[in-house]
Amino acid sequence: MTQSLSKKSKSKIPVLELKNIVKTYTSGNTTFNALDGVSVCINRGEFVSITGPSGSGKSTLMHVVGLLDNPTSGQVLLEGQDISHLNEEELAKTRNVTLGFVFQQFNLLAKTSATENVSLPLLYSDVPKSLRLPKAIEMLNKVGLGDKLNNTPAQLSGGQQQRVAIARALINDPKIILADEPTGNLDSKSGKEIISLFHQLHDEGRTIILVTHDMDLAKQAQRIIIIKDGKVTNKKC
């Protein structure tokens, strides 16, 4: 973790680059391009938001960026490597080490302690078992929940649950943190705290992609990518 953080230098190669991505959905006889030749790039250490009205292709773009879905055509380059044709298993492994997800619904495992929730991604990684708990505790301390290690989601407030989710996203020291409407289920005070946590992580040199329909929230980022009708309408890199 410290290795990538210490390299605050922004290398020439973007951490993630999408080239002319098309994603087509077919329903009966009609085809629909959710993404219609989208090209964007995300540089290392950037805090970028992706925004657009509902139905704009924002979610589809997030899925492609999150390596949850393969594009119909186009290239996805992760640190210069084309990964648009990886199989499901390779994609899962890449997600595990490259991406940290933060969801609107938190998606924590019920009746499961904060440390176990946070260490969940390590179950699918090469981190030795003995390091799981210390790493989970470290991450929970980082998000200010050092005193809630054994609390289950039901024993935590919404804001605290989202912090647990962020700690989980951080545990594998991902190249990119992808947050999908992370404040959507929170009151405004908790929402602000979460955003300031993102700022803090960004200041530490992390790359953050924030997906939101809320323009005010999107403006918190360094750079905004606006998508409309499956096309990116502003500056792409």
Binding site: F101, P121, K129, R168
Partner: protein
């Protein structure tokens, strides 16, 4: 290397299964019932076999019996052929002498049977088997009354056709519910008989006559009651067990010269035992098979609950996939949960089956076998795999996007 590791999978599956204890218990109920009944039935079959083996050992392992009719079929089972079963051949004194002449050194004991009515003071019992034999029978078949319970009849009493009776344990109790039957009189066919001995409880042998209800008397007494000198059975006791087979062969040869091959049967207790054991074995397998149906039903219950679980936990599956679980990891996780569900059922079933067996053993022979426990556990394990695969595959094939969106 497999990620997560097997012990991680087992631990997380146990944890998920234990999160909903009452559901787990109810889901496992089918397996619990199935395994319990399989273990109970095999234990009863096994106990019965052991018990009967013990019973037959008391018949004497170096005793050979010659009976009229064809008792066994060619496969070693009991004969079912009507015409052969009702052969009315009777042996006589000449057959006994034939054996005695040709097979010296062996003890030959003739037996005659009669079904009689016995009256004590107040009680009348009908259809009692009165076995007439020699003074040697008591010792040969381990029927000697124990000290204090009288004696077997003597050679002298046998020669004189003395009206003396040795009673089985049950018939003695039936005729004289209170008081000691020794030296009391009973009436058979209008004549008085004196009770000189009561045999200890032997238990009934399955498939054979109830030994405890038999009454023994000198051979000539039965001849007089029957009005003929027909013998129901001839017992040949060899000096040692190793000679049983060769003597059986010689007896067969001897009797074939005189009788048709279906008119008599030469057998020893092991042969009878083999037949009975094969019947019990078949019966146990059949009943266990029926009980095993409930294992299938239990498996369907597990599959049902696992499908519900997969639906309920769609978002969790989506999350796990998003953070790096590949399809096989999800498949194994849910498969392990199904196996653990049925495994829990198997373990509880084994415990209940063993306890039940111990309880049954108080009034009926039953004994848990290691093989029945391991088979029951193995089967419940297999049920978990077989019925867990479909839900686990469903879970592993969920698209992470769809799963994360699932409400």
């Amino acid at each position: 290397m497999l990620k997560p590791s097997i012990d991680d999978l087992i631990r997380s599956s146990i944890r998920s299964v234990l999160k909903n204890k009452s559901r787990t218990l109810l889901t496992s109920l089918g397996i619990i019932i199935g395994v319990t009944s399989v273990i109970l039935l095999t234990s009863i079959g096994n106990g019965l076999t052991i018990y009967i083996n013990q019973q037959f050992e008391s018949l004497g392992s170096n005793s050979i019996f010659i009976s009229p009719g064809k008792i066994f079929n060619d496969n070693g089972g009991f004969n079912n052929n009507e015409s052969a079963r009702f052969v009315t051949t009777s042996f006589t004194e000449s057959d006994v002498n034939l054996i005695k002449r040709n097979l010296r050194g062996n003890l030959v004991i003739p037996m005659a049977m009669s079904s009689v009515e016995i009256k004590s003071n107040k009680i009348t019992k009908t259809n009692i088997t009165l076995a007439g034999s020699t003074y040697q029978l008591g010792e040969t078949l381990d029927r000697l009354p124990s000290p204090g319970n009288g004696r077997w009849f003597t050679q002298e009493e046998e020669n004189k056709n003395s009206p003396v009776l040795v009673l089985g344990y049950t018939i003695a109790r039936d005729l004289f519910p209170t008081g000691n039957p020794l030296n009391r009189k009973v009436i058979i066919g209008g004549k008085n008989y004196k009770i000189i001995g009561v045999i200890d409880k032997k238990g009934s042998s399955f498939g054979g006559p109830d030994q405890d209800s038999q009454v023994y008397t000198p051979l000539g007494v039965v001849f007089n009651i029957n009005g003929n000198e027909n013998l129901a059975e001839i017992l040949v006791k060899t000096p040692n067990k190793s000679q049983v087979d060769s003597i059986k062969e010689e007896l067969n040869k001897l009797f074939l010269e005189k009788y048709d091959k279906d008119a008599f049967t030469v057998f020893d207790s092991s042969q009878l035992l083999d037949s009975i054991n094969s019947i019990i074995g078949t019966l146990t397998i059949a009943l266990t098979g029926i009980a095993a149906i409930s294992l299938v039903v239990g498996g369907i219950g597990i599959m049902n609950i696992m499908l519900v679980t997969v639906s309920e936990r769609t978002r969790e599956i989506g999350l796990r996939k998003a953070i790096g679980a590949y399809p096989r990891a999800i498949l194994l996780q849910f498969l392990f949960e199904a196996i653990i569900l049925s495994g829990i059922g198997g373990i509880i079933g084994i415990i209940l089956g063993s306890l039940g067996t111990a309880a049954i053993n108080n009034f009926f022979p039953a004994k848990v076998t290691f093989s029945s426990v391991s088979i029951a556990f193995g089967v419940s394990f297999m049920v978990g795999i077989i019925f867990g695969v479909a839900p686990a595959r469903k879970a592993s094939k969920l698209s992470p996007i769809e799963a994360l969106r699932y409400e």
